[in-house]
């Protein structure tokens, strides 16, 4: 098992960062921290995916110094395309979540989600 982990060190690191991001997103009370955790989680997945496309000794999938491509010269282009899509998705979500954070701060004057929820419950009980 251990040699497998060392051999796949990019994937291992990606999973560890994914775990840290996952826990930060789930448990941290601060919304900004949650968003950073979400970004960690997503980039970790992209690292995982991108390392799947790498083939040692080959180069980036752009035609170089030849007219007809040689298969053994280039790495796998599929993961790169998927990650490119994913990065844009995650920046969209970051912007959306940050906008919600700004609005929440304006309404409740804090960024602590637990505090916000307890304030909301208190208001509801008062009604």
């Amino acid at each position: 098992m251990f040699s497998g982990l060392i051999n796949n060190f990019y994937e291992t690191a990606a999973i560890i960062v994914f775990g840290i991001g996952f826990v930060t997103l789930l448990l941290n009370r601060n919304i900004i921290k949650k968003i950073i955790g979400f970004n960690f989680m997503d980039t970790a997945i992209y690292l995982f995916l991108a390392s799947k496309g790498y083939i040692s000794g080959r180069m980036a999938p752009i035609l170089y110094n030849e007219t007809t491509p040689t298969l053994t010269k280039y790495i796998n282009p599929v993961p790169a395309g998927l990650v490119l899509t994913g990065i844009v998705v995650s920046v969209s979500f970051t912007a959306f979540f940050l906008a919600i954070a700004v609005r929440l701060y304006r309404e409740y004057n804090t960024l602590d989600l637990h505090e916000i929820v307890s304030m909301m419950n208190k208001e509801e009980n008062e009604e």
Binding site: F18, G21, F22, L25, L26, I31, K34, F38, M41, D42, I45, F48, L49, K52, V78, P79, L82, T85, G86, V89, S92, F93, F96, F97, I100, A101, R103, L104, E107, Y108, L113, I116, V117, M120, E123, E124
Partner: protein
Amino acid sequence: MDKYYVINDIVQNFPFISIILSLFTGILCAAVKPKKAMGICFFNLIVCFVLSLMTLIYCINNGDYYVYMMGHFPAPFGNEIRVGVLEALMATAFALVMLLSLLGGLKHIFHDVLPEKQNYYFLMMELLYTSLIALIYTNDLFTAYVFVEINTLTACAIVMLKHSKETLVATARYLMMSLLGSGLIMIGISILYDITGHLLMSNIKESVVALAGAGQYRLPIEVVICLFAIGLGIKSALYPFHSWLPDAHGSSTSGSSAVLSGLVLKAYIILLIKMVYRVFSIEVIRGSKVLDILFVLGVLAMTIGSIKAINSRDLKRMIAYSSVAQIGYIYLGIGLGNDAGMIAACFQILVHAFTKPMLFNTAGAFMDEAHGSRKFKDLVGAARKNLWAGIGFAVGAFSMIGIPLFGGFVVKYNLALAALPTNRAVLALIALVISTVLNAIYYVPALMVLFKKTSTSSKIKVFADKNDVPFIFSNGVFIICNFVLGIMSPFFITLITMGLNKFA
């Protein structure tokens, strides 16, 4: 060329046209005034309904599925969508439900959403519909991921469009849980891509079956199945991950609640069913332990969701918790692991999609009578002031409880039949009985409160709110649909069976 790729009928283009049309008209909504955006949205939904219905009829006549290439390259090189009876049936039902939910909640949409942002409501709804049908039709895992993200974003947006503090908090929690789910789904797709080398469902299935046969990568496949089940479970509010649902569905405007509970949750479950059949193959799934987990979680959801609903003092929250319980039925059916259970689960998707939006819309109508309050104590006698909504609520409640003539009964009957031959029969039957009793315990008192005679509403003065014609219309159609689903259930079950047979 494969026979499934041949396009020789104009009808075969319709699923693709409905996806692109809703996307395009959705984008256009950003540029126009709210009333016009509403017109575009309804026009698009009606067109999509007609197109999907024609596709459904074509598929029934044809008796087979076909694959539509999105581009010039066949699988496994390009994207493609796959159209069969089940997909077309769901797309038709979803278009109808969305149309009726929007009509029913129209008054509230124009009341709850700020005037300058109303066109964005219809934009989000259209793009939500795009993502729903794309999720239903797609045959490619990564496309599914992209449209899951669109679905999440638009679903959060229609929650937060109601201008209040409460919806903001609900949106933040909903978004957080959804992002966790998306992360798990994405990493599942990555591992699956790594061990099979494909993103297209049919090709992945071939590889997975071959790998499972050879006994290779047993652990990764097991882990990936669990990741998808948890990820989609979070997004469809399976029991331990349901914490976001009551807030999000309870606080948003009634049209949004209707669409969220009726359609958004269902799309993820349909994706899960597609994965079970078309990505992992049912044999591999049966070999893993995930069905047991889903079964147990389904049973827990059925009971605990109902108990939470009994405890709530708020009409919309009660209906939202009832969704948790109803989602439990679907997972119970999937967890049984046989075809009959899966058919019952699919039928429950249809029944719930037609019942829950009606309940939310009528709840919105009651809230008008109580000056916007959702609390039961303010809603006493509300159904007497708006009898048409009261009838709708009663029909929905009877269906949810499982009284014969309604769809809910057929679902429970079929689930019980499906459970009998399995080794989980006792637990499943007990859960069904307990959950039926619990359903009655909260829906019957709710009905009694709503129809109670009070000093101000001893006589039924008005049959319905004359100013709200769209609601009267949509409620009527919803009631008819509920009866149709209950009475003509054999027809729908035959359709679902046809579709599921072609899935495998």
